[in-house]
Amino acid sequence: MKSSYQENFLTNLYATMFRIREFEEQVFELYKIGLMPGLAHLYIGEEAVATGACATLEDKDFIGSTHRGHGHLIARGADTKKMMAEILGKKDGYCKGKAGSMHIVTLDKGILGANGVVGGGIPIATGAAYMAKIKDTKQVTICFMGDSATNEGSFHESLNMAAAWDLPIVYVIENNLYGISVGLKRVTKVADLSERAKAYGMKGLSIDGNNVLKVYETVKEAVDYAREGNGPTLIECKTYRHKGHHVGDPGLEYRSREEEDEWKAKCPLICFKEALLKEKKTTKKAIADLETSIVQEIKEAVEFAKNSPYPDPSEAFEDIYS
């Protein structure tokens, strides 16, 4: 850990990861007690990716997210109250209950949107980068995607354009080894997905996605590179989801318990907390206080969401056209 890192910066990273974790645990609870309509894809286990990546951005920048988007949005500073209300389909949600877990779009914080279509957000994020390029706004876009999304044509077409035109964008793959039940290696021969960058003449890197500082440092370099007008980078972050594909998936048939345990031992929160304490960057007490306050914050988000009314049926007919 670089000695130049300030305590504040480091504990903020931890706080973000913890906020995501706690948020997701509460989403899971709400699902289990039947308060959440539909499904949600939990980010638990992958918190270091969104956290490290989003920490590199300026306010004006953009992120494009996925079906597994809660972590990206929280790391980008989205309001957990409005998120939770949205996930419950309530009127005070970010999108008035129209989006749910999988579709939150809000230009608040430059969030181009979660996306229910695997790979669907990649060309859109690339379009934001095109805008930034031709209007010379110096905005950078981070485009998150799952490992399996890299098998969609949209990935290929987008990265080709971004590279050809030196667009200011960083593509971040969250390789959690599976697309629902399908292990990536059963459907893709290449071991490191950053190899795919070569197809576009783009820089590509594969890193430990459970190490929040490693993610931060790698993405930071790519974001700076993009902001200076040098073009895109593809970064593969190897990580793992602790839960099933979505809240309703026990995830037992396609992964081994050993594999799960191995990865849970590499939990990004635990590892980072231990490192911070070991290197005396913070204290147990400070961490405990932080955790308590975040637990309280999320509790309030849950209450806010529960108390928010459902939208009026007539609202279904609004917001189609402007």
């Binding site: 309509p37 209950g97 129209k98 579709h103 098998n151 039940s181 399908v182 048939e253 049926p313 189609i320």
Partner: protein
Amino acid sequence: MTQDKFKEITYAQAVAEAIDEEMARDENVILMGEDVGIIGGNFKATVGLRDKYGDWRVKDSPISELGIVGLGVGAAITGLRPIIEIMFSDFMSLGMDQIANQAAKIRYMSGGQVKVPLTIRTTIGGGRSSAAQHSQSLQAWVAHIPGLKVVVPSTAAELKGLLKTAIRDDNPVIFMEHKMEYNKKYSVPVGEYTIPLGQANIVNEGDRLTIAATSSMVMRSLEAAQELAKDNIYVEVIDIRTLVPFDKQTIIDSVKKTGRLLIVDEGHLSFGVGAEIGMKVMEDVFYDLDYPMMRLGTEDVPFPFSPALEFPIIPDTKKIYQKSKEMARQ
């Protein structure tokens, strides 16, 4: 269906049985799609098949809708009878070139030299709070393309017989399963049977109004018919079964008797398949109509997430009942 023995199985099991029987019958039948193998499908409609037929005949694919449909087309013209699963009909959008420009047209372009025995299974229907990108019923897209056949089965028994026929058909068939049905139990004939494509099915007889419906709207229409019967309004309910080929005679005969036609399909109302059903029979029933033909469909809005917003936009038993009452008044 003349069997007299029935069993209770779910709609999902009916899918698996149909595929299983056809795979056992013909070694050229293969199944490919996202998650169809190890976990037996996102909707558990293909459970057990990979264990039975192995990894190559029941293939978990990458998330590549265009690629897998195209692979199916190539395999079909060279001797296999692939069943390709697109998890949600919304994602047919990604495979539409291979569906509409390749599968549908290759036979014609070849002057009849090749056949394309390809079945594309996909899912339709809202009501699960799956929001805008996982709830659409996009039969209108495929029904518009000559060269494709389009099946919109109602119950599990219907599904099984129609799916087996679809798999045996030498043409590309888009087979649309309704996601709200998978877990429902139905009475299904025991043993081998098939249902031909292109024959609508009268599922309830009546004289005051004809309801022509697709997919799960057939069941909703039957429920409405039961309610209406309590009001002494007897409606004839027709299960459309297949949009292409289309059996217009059954509807014409019925409307000649009832003088009134209500069409119910869960796709978005505007530019949906209901419009075509009306216009197809228009010329033949025009002078018999006592009332304008009417349609019910999903409202012309993207599917909202919140159940508070979603249910109001989808046609249901109550809406069918109300519309029928309005139409059936003398």
